[in-house]
Structures are given as structure tokens and as C-alpha cells.
Amino acid sequence: MRVGLVGDGDRFDALVALLGQTNTETVLWNYKRQRKKDLPDGVESVPLKEFRDIPLIFVSVTMDEVRDVARSLGDHTTGRHAVVHLCRNLEHKSLKTVSQVLHEEMPTHRYAFLTGPMLREDVLKGLPASGVCATTYDEIMDYVKEVLVSSSFRLYRNHDIRGAELAAAYCRVIAMAAGVASELHLGMSIQSTLFSRGLAEMGRFVAYRGGLERTTFGLSGCANLFIDSAAPGSPDFQIGAEAMKKNIFDHNAVIKKFGTRGKDMMDLVESLAVVLEEQKSLDLHLLETCHLMVSGKMGPAEALIHLMSLPVLND
């Protein structure tokens, strides 16, 4: 089997390694025109037009790139193609999921979202990992299973692609809050609280935006949050920790240190904040606090005090 690849980053590297473990033939569209030495080993770079004959394409790009990449792919793909993306974000301002954006830009209707605890470091070492393929199309799930599942990688299915995309994106906000708390060295109790309440909040958000609440408690929500918040933590976790060190959310410093990932995170928080106004009864306290931090209205230390002083809520 031959699959097409577009993208870069940690999850992309993990994906390439997993495909390597099943000896799947992979070709890459080098949309960023990276130097050959920067491309993954063993992956052939081909012109985009060759993707016309490759029915399964994996995409792992930043949110800013999704629409343009999809539009280019759309010029060379058909209704037969299936696109599996790994992007844990929502479109800025519109809050559209990545699969919605892909659908708008490409002719095919067949999409999937691959996510879960598949850390680059673990996968490259051949350690066990797992993922969930969220899609409404069983044939995509079957195909993805063929090319990814090995003795060290388990794959789960979920038909709630919308819920999975929303949960995986929301995790990143909770992870940032966990990063703030970690830097204060306040012990595991507060981390556990953030994990648990973060999941509950995520569930409400997912249901409000049209996903299934229970998806939150699967690999796209719970498992991603666990791995994002565990030391050394995801880049989002580290962004929170970095902000806490200076007790101020300095946008320039975040971008300087974390690059596009930092900007991506701040855009995500800004975009999600729309929901705070839209539906106040959702009680998205962690998101609200993160938004206050990112918008500079509250320092990280103050934010934590704010969270601890909230009235008693139902668990």
C-alpha cells in the first residue's frame, strides 16, 4: 500500500515511524520546500500531481496552513480520496474543525482524524503507543488500520469525528493551565484537580459544539490531556510554565521561544473565548482563566488564585 504525506512536526515524525513499522510505502508532498536533509528518512518526495493516484493522504500541518494546503490538495484529488489529519486545533475565529475546513476546500467527503497518545519519543524507540481514528467512514478506518497497526501500535475507532477534534483541541488549553500550576510546584493534587475538572469542562464544550460528551473520555480527550500534562509536558504545557516563570503572558516571548506553535496556542485561546460570551452557562472556568492570562488581564499567579476562589461547583 502507498500513502501520501503532507506536513511536519512531532506527530508527523511519529506517524512516519509508525508507517515504517508496517513497511508502508510513503511519498511526501514537500509543500514547504524543505531541504532534503530535513525530510524524514525513507520518504520519497514527489510532485503534488502524483497524489492523484494515491487514495489515502495524511496531513499534519498548522492551523494557519490547513486551508491553503487543502486547496492545493483539492486541485489534484477526487471524490475517491480519503484524508486523515492530525491537527489538534480549530480554525481561528470561525471555530470550524479541521475536517470542516478540508471539506470546504477539497472535493472528497471522506475524512478522518488521527490522534491519541503516540508520543514521538516513544514511537521512535519502538515503545507501545495507541491512537484513535475518528471517522464516519468505516472504510477509512479499515485502511488506516492496515497501514498503521503493528505489534507496538494499537488503533481504536470512533465515529464522532467532530467530538474528537473538539476534545483534542480543548486539551491544549487545559494543558497550558497545568503548565502554569506545575511551575508553582504546588504538588500533584492541584494537577489532578485540573485534569479532572478540565475533562468535565471539555465534555461540556464538546457537547455544546455538537460532539458527544463521552468522546472526551477517550483517547482524543482524556489520553491526550494525560500525555500533554505529564512531565515534561507538551509545548502548550511548557508555554504555561514559561508564562508562570515570568508571571506575565508575554506574546513576543512566547512566539520567540515556541515559534508558530506558540502563536497557534494563543490564537486558539482567543478563538475559544467567543464561546464564553456565547454560552455563559457552560461554566468554562479554566478556559476563561486562560483567556484572561493570554489577553494580559490577569497574571498567571493571580489566575490560579482566581480558580481556587471559585464558588463550590458540582463535581
Partner: protein, 552 residues
Amino acid sequence: MTEAPLFRFNSERPYLVNEVTRRVYNEFLTASRQSEANALEYVLNETAYVEIDRLRTEQGPEEEIRDRGWWKSMARSLTHLSEDQKRDILRDLIESYTDDTAGKFDPQVFKLATGALPLGLSFLFRAQDVGVIPGVNNSFREGIRQLRNLGDRVVVEGHTDTMRKLAEIGTLVVVPTHSSNMDSIVMGWSLEHAGLPPVTYGAGKNLFTNPLTSFFMHNLGAYKVDRRIKHNVYKSILKSYSQVLLERGYHSLFFPGGTRCRSNIVESNLKLGLLGTAVSAYISNLEKGQNRPIFICPATINYNLVLEGESLIREHLRRSGRARYFLPDDEFNQISTIVRFVMNTVRMDSTTIIRYGQPMDVFGNRVEGDGESYDDRGRRIDATDFVRSLSTGDIVHDTQRDREYTRYTGKRIGESFVKNTVLVSSLVVAYALFELIRHRYPKLDVYQLMRLNFDETIPWHELRSTVGELVSEIRRLADLEKVHLAPLVANGSIDEIVDSGISTLTMYHVPAAVEYVPSGVRVNHTNLLYFYGNRVRTFDLDARELVSRALE
């Protein structure tokens, strides 16, 4: 027009019945061989159980395929029957149901119904009935004259040019909104008026037994759908019949809302069963080497007044559990009400606007007059690629995939319904009046407002001001192509819109939904105002804000 597939229906009817019988029989036989749970004994027993239960409470005047005694006797004998005997029973049953379902098409009746008598509605009248009907406008002769010109008052607009071209290339599946039993007749007339071929369609069995409509139903290509029958054998027959018709190139019409919309809000929760047969038929034809496309053509039927408005909204408000498909004594079963409706509404400048939306392929992609599909970015795409297997590239049926496609197409149809809704003055005024009443009683919910038996008068200045605010909002939506407006609502002055809306709302219902009084408009029927205003509520306007602004 003589080339329209429906004109060959009668000669193909035996083939259609045989083919559907063969397919459904094979489907159940194959399933029985694959799993013990699907054994013929269980299938027949389940079918009998459902029918015995139904016939205990529903023994209407309609002729039943088998009576309750037969079902009981068959169920009792099942354990003693051989497999061959069970197969024979199943096959006979399927054949009987299919034969009962399949319609008839009489070209002479079609010519008469669409040519000589606009809308065919004159068939609904018998001279001896009209003279004794209370509530009919006195000027009967004038009414009849206007009735003959009714065609001028029904506006057909939208993508009819595209549809005419597509009818030459492939098979049309017209999917309109549904709010009245008049819809199938009105749609049939509008297609003919727009130079489009006649369609076959599934009509409720009550329409075949209703003396007003049975003549049309039995002769204009309709097939019978008995929504009271719930067993799987019957459901398979209906789907298979629809699929075979589409495979054979018969232009068809489904009401994807399934039943008349009780609330009058533009339907969004669509039933996808029959729509799914379009995908299956398309794939089956491709497998046979016939690339005859199937085009989905959404349409909205926009009435100034709805014949069954009162009972529909009553049912909507009363409904707490499952939908009832059949209103036992609604206005459509009362000749006098229909006559009153027609005679009193023919005086309007336009009675109905039928708007055809952008056609799409069976996967929800936009289709242009060349028959080609286009994606959201305007790229021309090959529709056959959508049914190719991801792994092999072969054209295949894939039940799960095709269900997803149908779900998506249903979503696009729902979007088209909203976008192609045409707001007329009666809807706009009804919305404004109801929201003004709601503003007066902010602590009452909708149901409490309906139950109130009050005498409420809305001053003219409040009504004009609220309609003014509302019209500004919906004109803005129209500019964004999110809705369409009738010419008067799009270009008329507020006074003209108010006058037209009030005049329409006083026309048919007894007592009238509203009436003129010197100080303003007296409201008699809040439920009717709610019903008509619901069409506007589809667009999620902030009514409270709108009324507050108007009354400032």
C-alpha cells in the same frame, strides 16, 4: 413531453412488480441463509405480530392486503410449515404488497389535469356541494372565473432552466418541503407549468381513499405508501420499488420531511430512507455500465395560507411523543373546508410560490445544466469517484459509506430549503403580531399564550413599526442570499406589506386569525399566528430585541 419515462409506466408495470418482488424476496432469503436470527419463520412471525397488533386498533375503510384472521392463522401454522411453504407465503406477500404499492399512469388524465384545468383543483368540486357550503364567498361565479386563472397566481421560480436540461441527461428526484396534502398536486402542476416531465411519487394511502384526491392518485403515477404498516418486509418493498423506478429512469418526487410539517418551521430533520435509494440506484446503474446520473432537486412550497394550518399547529402543540402520520379528521378530509379555502384565496395576487433550488448530485455536490458536478470551490468533479472503493478503486456498494453520503445530501437539502424559502407578507405579519403579544406577556411561554382565551388588539403603529424592523432584518438576510422574499416583501412599503398580510390572514380560517378593528388588529387565533410566523422563526432572529427596538 411524450418522451417522459412516466408515459411508458403502464407497459413496464408488470416488470416493475416482478423485479421488486424478486429483489425483496432474495434479500430476505439471503439473510435467512446467513444468520439463524433471520430465518424465514422469524421474519413471517414478526411480520404477523406487527400486523395483528396494528389491525386490532386500525381497521379503517382501506382495503387490507390480508385481514387479521389470515395473519393469526398464518402465525399459528408457522411451526408446521416446510421451508418451501414459508418461502411461498413470503413471496406471495411481497408480490401482493408490491402490486398494491405500484401505481398507474393515464396519459389522458394527465393531459386533462395539467392542461384544461389549472391545478386540477376543479376536480375537487362538485357543483351540488358548492351551493350549500357555508363560508364560501357569495360571488361564486366570480370565484370560478378566478379559479380558472389560478395558474397565473402560482409563481414557479428558481432553477427550472437547469432542471429542464438535466431532465434530458439523467433522472430527476424532486424533493420539496411538505406542509399540505395539496403539495403533491401543486408540485405536479408546477413541474408541468415549468416544462418539466411528470414525476412518480409516494403518496399516503389516505390520499388514495380520500374521494377528493383518489382519482388523481390512481391515475397520475403515484404509488401507495401506507405509513401505518411498520414491518420490515413492507419497508424493504418501498425502498426497493423506489430504487427500481430510479434505475429505470423514472423521475421521482419524495417529501424528505416524511410527513406534513406540523410547526411550519422549515424542515431540517429529514428522513433519509427513500433518498438513500437514489445513491443505491446510481451505483447499480454504474455497475451495469449505465452512467445515467440522478439529480436531486430541492424545492420549497411557499403558501400564503395553509389549508390544514389549524390542525397542523394543534397537532404540533399537542404532540409529546411519537409523530402521528395521519390526522383523522383534518381539513383535507372536509370538502366544505377545501372549497372555502380555494374560493377565498383565489382573490390573492399570488397564492403560492414554488421555488426550485440549485440541483445537486446524489452526494450533495452542486450540479449545473451540463450535468456535471462541482465542489464547493467550483472545481468540476467526477461523481463516479465517490462510489469507488478506497482500496481498490472499483465501483462498489458500501452500505455504511452510502449512508454517510445520504446523510450529507440530506443536510445539503435542508440548507437549500432554508435558503430557498420565500417569505410572503402573511408570514411576516403573523410573526410580528405574535411577537408583539409575547412582548406584552413576557412571563408566559408559548403554550400558555396559546391556551389564553383573550381579546387582544394590537395598535396599528405598533404593528407597522415591528413589521418595519422585521422587514429590515429579512431584507438584510435576503441580500446575503440566506432567504428569498416575495416581491411585495422585497420592494413594497411597510403599509403595503401590513395591509397585504392582514388581508390574507382574514381570508380563510373561521373565525379569521385576525380581524380589522378601528384601533388596530384584533387577534383571534394566537396558534395560527404562531404557525405562520414559525416560517420566519427558522431564521433565528432575536425577536425580543426586534420588538423592543420597534416599540422604543
